[in-house]
Amino acid sequence: MTAAIEVENLRCEFRVHTGLMSAEKRVVAVDDVTFGVPAGSVLGIVGESGCGKSTLARLILGLLKPTAGTVLVDGKRLFDLDRKARARLIQPVFQDPFASLNPRRRIKDIVALPLTAQGTFSRNEIERRVGGILERVGLSAAMGERMPAQLSGGQRQRAAIARALVLEPRIVICDEPTSALDVSVQAQILNLLADLRRDLGLTYLFISHNLAVVEHVASEVAVMYLGRFVERNETDALFRAPAHPYTSALLQSVLTPEPGKGVPDIGLGDIMPDPSNIPPGCRFNPRCRVAIERCRHEAPARMVRPPQGMVECHLA
């Protein structure tokens, strides 16, 4: 199966000034990330704050310039294309429905923006397409005339999805699309995303910190920690038998709605992951329960697990 999107050795470094007198610090937000997603499937990317998943999304979308690496969509190098060409291939759905729609424009103008920006569509064509996509996501034409403030969170997210799909892209990057929504609305949106993917043959990159949601949505999952993929596998396999200690810790910390089980002790310790201060050796070693001496000074190599999986751990 051809990969719809291929990311190769993507890297993003920031230079940060921590104080007037101290030297510049280098923060590696994304460190040598490589993966491919088969057409029509969903890759879930999970990780906690500071792991770089949002930075990764912004790199792929062209909102940030990478320090190194490349992204290929359908074999074309994404960064060689101009923004309009890129827009036809890849679109985002962001987390905060209140911040992802311009509060001063009407919904239908917001949804039409990708079309109007191309400059090649007639007004009638734009109207037709906007009407069609609004209906497809469950918004009435009347709602198209409204301003974002008049819509609920779930409806705004539908509008954001409509905007992402109106140009019929190949890839949709969903950056925590339901994290800011109520549980009952979250389910509606996830169902909508699943339907649309099936009907339009889309490929999703689904970024989330909510493992339960990712398990429901993704066919494969990659776990990110301090800028690197530390494990990737098919969803069921990953959830059943995580290979990386961080993945295990993440899975254990998910609080399922099952009464009587109490809160698990994950034993990760107090040290918080700090992208500006990545530990030597395996970057997870200070918090790892099963770390051995080797982990403290030797970074683990990438071990491939066919067909698409990988893990970076000395003990895997």
């Binding site: 906690e48 704050s49 609920s152 969170g153 779930g154 409806q155 109520d182 549980v183 009952s184 609305v185 979250q186 389910a187 509606q188 996830l190 169902n191 699943a194 910190h209 909510n210 493992l211 339960a212 949601v213 398990e215 429901h216 949505v217 066919s219 969803t235 959830f239 810790a249 993440l250 899975l251 254990q252 910390s253 998910v254 609080l255 399922t256 709605p257 099952e258 009464p259 009587g260 089980k261 109490g262 809160v263 698990p264 002790d265 994950i266 990760l268 107090d270 918080m272």
Partner: protein
């Protein structure tokens, strides 16, 4: 048997327009964790603020009964309430980033709580602060006392908040979504901490959350809120075993449970949105989204019993056929 915190018929409105809380009744027993669960806009945070008399300007509250440790909260003056707040009733909030004053050290903020309520020297207060920081699992408390909030991570700040709330040995801790802004691994740590504190100090906790996972793992009793009302109350085990109110059932079916995921089947969801409730609204607020609604739902809704300590607001019979597991 009297509970530590008893709230009966609480109503909170803002400027006569919106009714944020239209009838909240619940009890927090001594030494237990009671969860107020609901989605955004259901009024759970406002309920907590009303109990603590921390409503924004323009908020009016009224209650048939609101008592803490036998003291009637509705008749207290501002001064008397201030003496209770932070002292015997403490509260921690959702955003650890904004709950601490960035201009003062951790130590001075914590010490202030104790010296204000119980007097004593600043040195003694700082000692107690260090002791509590150790209790909540903060390493090197002595150093932390001199640090400023921005030097700490979110999880640490939330622990500091908890320690600060404990300075005066409160009997009740109200926690408003204390882990929502934190990473999932840190969340587990904080919740474990709260459970340990409850066990060791006999603390009673009113925990407000939207996360049913937290409710299941942490709560002894649950009150489910929807559109300003408590629509179902039960013990945790009961609520998850046999939810009665259609909203509760809908909510439970929406939550994806890892390990029981069916990727090809859509997630359960509740159609529609929360309606705007103005003054003069009658009947059940859920009827516009309920599959079992009929015309009687627009009138007064009875409170039904479904077992020991389990009641809910609905015209439907308890343990009816549709609720039996398929």
């Amino acid at each position: 048997m009297s509970a530590l915190l008893e709230v009966e018929g609480l109503q909170v409105g803002f400027g006569g327009r919106t009714a944020a809380v239209r009838g909240a009744s619940f009890r927090v027993e001594k030494g237990e964790t009671h969860c107020l669960v609901g989605e955004s806009g259901c009024g759970k945070s406002v309920t907590a603020l009303a109990v603590m008399s921390l409503l924004a300007r323009g908020g009016q509250r009224s209650a048939e009964k609101m008592s803490f440790a036998g003291i009637d909260l509705t008749t207290l003056s501002d001064r008397e309430m201030a003496r209770l707040r932070g002292n015997r009733m403490a509260m921690i909030f959702q955003e650890p980033m904004t709950s601490l004053n960035p201009a003062f050290t951790i130590g001075s903020q914590m010490a202030e709580v104790l010296t204000r309520h119980k007097g004593g020297s600043r040195a003694a207060a700082l000692d107690r602060a260090a002791e509590l920081m150790g209790l909540v699992g903060i390493t090197a408390p002595g150093m932390r006392l001199g640090q400023f909030p921005h030097q700490l991570s979110g999880g640490l700040r939330q622990r500091v908040m908890i320690a600060m709330a404990l300075m005066c040995d409160p009997e009740l801790l109200i926690a408003d979504e204390p882990t929502t802004a934190l990473d999932v691994t840190v969340q587990a740590q904080i919740l474990r901490l709260l459970a340990n504190l409850q066990r060791d100090l006999g603390l009673s906790i009113l925990l407000i959350t939207h996360d049913l996972g937290i409710v299941a793992r942490v709560a002894d009793h649950v009150s489910v809120m929807y559109a300003g009302e408590v629509v179902e109350r039960a013990t945790t085990a009961e609520l998850f075993r046999a939810p009665q109110h259609p909203y509760t059932c809908g909510l439970l079916s929406c939550v994806p449970v890892p390990g029981r995921v069916q990727r090809d089947k859509p997630l359960g969801s509740i159609p529609g949105v929360v309606p705007a409730i103005g003054p003069g609204f009658a009947g059940c607020a859920f009827r516009s989204r309920c599959a079992h609604a009929d015309e009687t739902c627009a009138r007064d809704i009875p409170r039904r019993q479904a077992g020991q300590g389990h009641d809910y607001l609905c015209r439907l019979e308890p343990d009816r056929a549709e609720l039996q597991p398929a």
